[in-house]
């Protein structure tokens, strides 16, 4: 089983950029007005999940 990684629900993301500003791994980028997490760089610290004002980020096991 793989490790959990942050996953953005594109239907909920409002592109505020908060998750990007707190990501210690620089693993999140904005693409077509949605935040996208790079699975390679994510360390599942959960900071972005806690930060998201609308609850659009969860951790998923890949």
């Amino acid at each position: 089983m793989g490790k959990p990684k942050a996953l953005v629900d594109k239907g909920k993301c409002l592109a505020c950029g908060g998750c990007i500003s707190v990501c210690p791994q620089d693993a999140i980028t904005m693409c077509s007005s949605k935040a996208i997490v790079s699975k390679e760089n994510c360390i599942d610290c959960g900071i972005c999940i806690q930060t998201c004002p609308v609850g659009a980020i969860s951790n998923e096991v890949y």
Binding site: L14, G18, I20, D26, C52
Partner: protein
Amino acid sequence: MKYDVVVVGSGPAGSVTARFAAESGANVLIIERRQEVGVPVLCGEGISKKVDDFKVLEGRRWIANNMEGARIFSPDGAMVKLAADMAGDETGYVLYRDIFDQELARGAIRAGAELMLNTCAVDVLKENGKVNGVKAKQFGEEFDIEADIIVGADGVESKIGRWAGMKTTLKPYDLETCVQYTLSNVEFDKEYCDFYLGKKIAPGGYVWVFPKGKDIANVGIGILASLSEPGMPLKLLDKFIDSHPELKKGEPLRFLAGAVPVAEPIESVRDNLLLVGDAARQVDPITGGGLMASIEAGEIAGETIGKAVGEQRFDKKMLSPYEEKLENTVYKKLKRNYVVKEIVLGMEDKTLNMLADSLKDYKFDELSTLSLVKALVLKHPSLLIKLKPLMKLSKM
């Protein structure tokens, strides 16, 4: 493609920097990720009338509402009023932030700057360890933009600084996570911007009601990310609106999420590189307002860049006057307010209630966070001990 200066981001910080750089003779390009300057709006849209001193805006179309003052509500509902009759004319406006941003960008373009929309920076270009441009993407195609100076005006999520090797990652303790509705068909006093405090209302932040007109207002919430849970800002804002009948009957015209740095300003100058605005954390850590600091910093950045282009020297030493001038002006206030932010965060609701109660009939000489702090110290000299770190930063 080669310019003297490439500015990444057409928000207020980027546009004002571009304007003053172009006015002092630099060849400036602004790139903007979005397809329209200022849209979507990510802002509570409040600003001090001090903005008029800067002469960077034409006309009055960007003003939605002229404020009489501000009211702060403590957790138990005690009200502290900072009004124009006490504060001279130093109150505020509620903006149409999209028009505001577009007017600032027009100012930059009139001064000679170029603007490319739909253009996203994907990396910085480097040569011999020095930044010498940005890699950009427009309509799926990547291309290089060479420049002697790169300005990162790319907001709270700034990547330019990171790509250049600067430490820009915010701690959750230094970020407010926000949502806001623009509600129509609401009833309230349109003369005042209201702030609601309390751990149950907005942990480490506040709820704001900023009227844009007779029956329309921005109703938003900011929560300190370190005290938040997934989706908490939205849940608490809905709860707040539900418990206020005058707001509950409103219907939203706009909904937005936002993130506001409430940090101390960070390193903002490297060889060939400047950061400005939210990217440099130029935001008042108490109010979360960043417009005034961005405009002030943008003007200094633009003038510094103008001189650098004039002398054809782009090293850190040449650009450092930008940071030095900020240290003596804008940063004094931001650093002072960061200390105050930490003190306020440590206060229990009952302390806030007591302080608000003691200021109920206080006549403020100015509408500012500083005058609030002064009033509190006057009423409660024991607070001075907590405020001691401030003495090092500025003479109160």
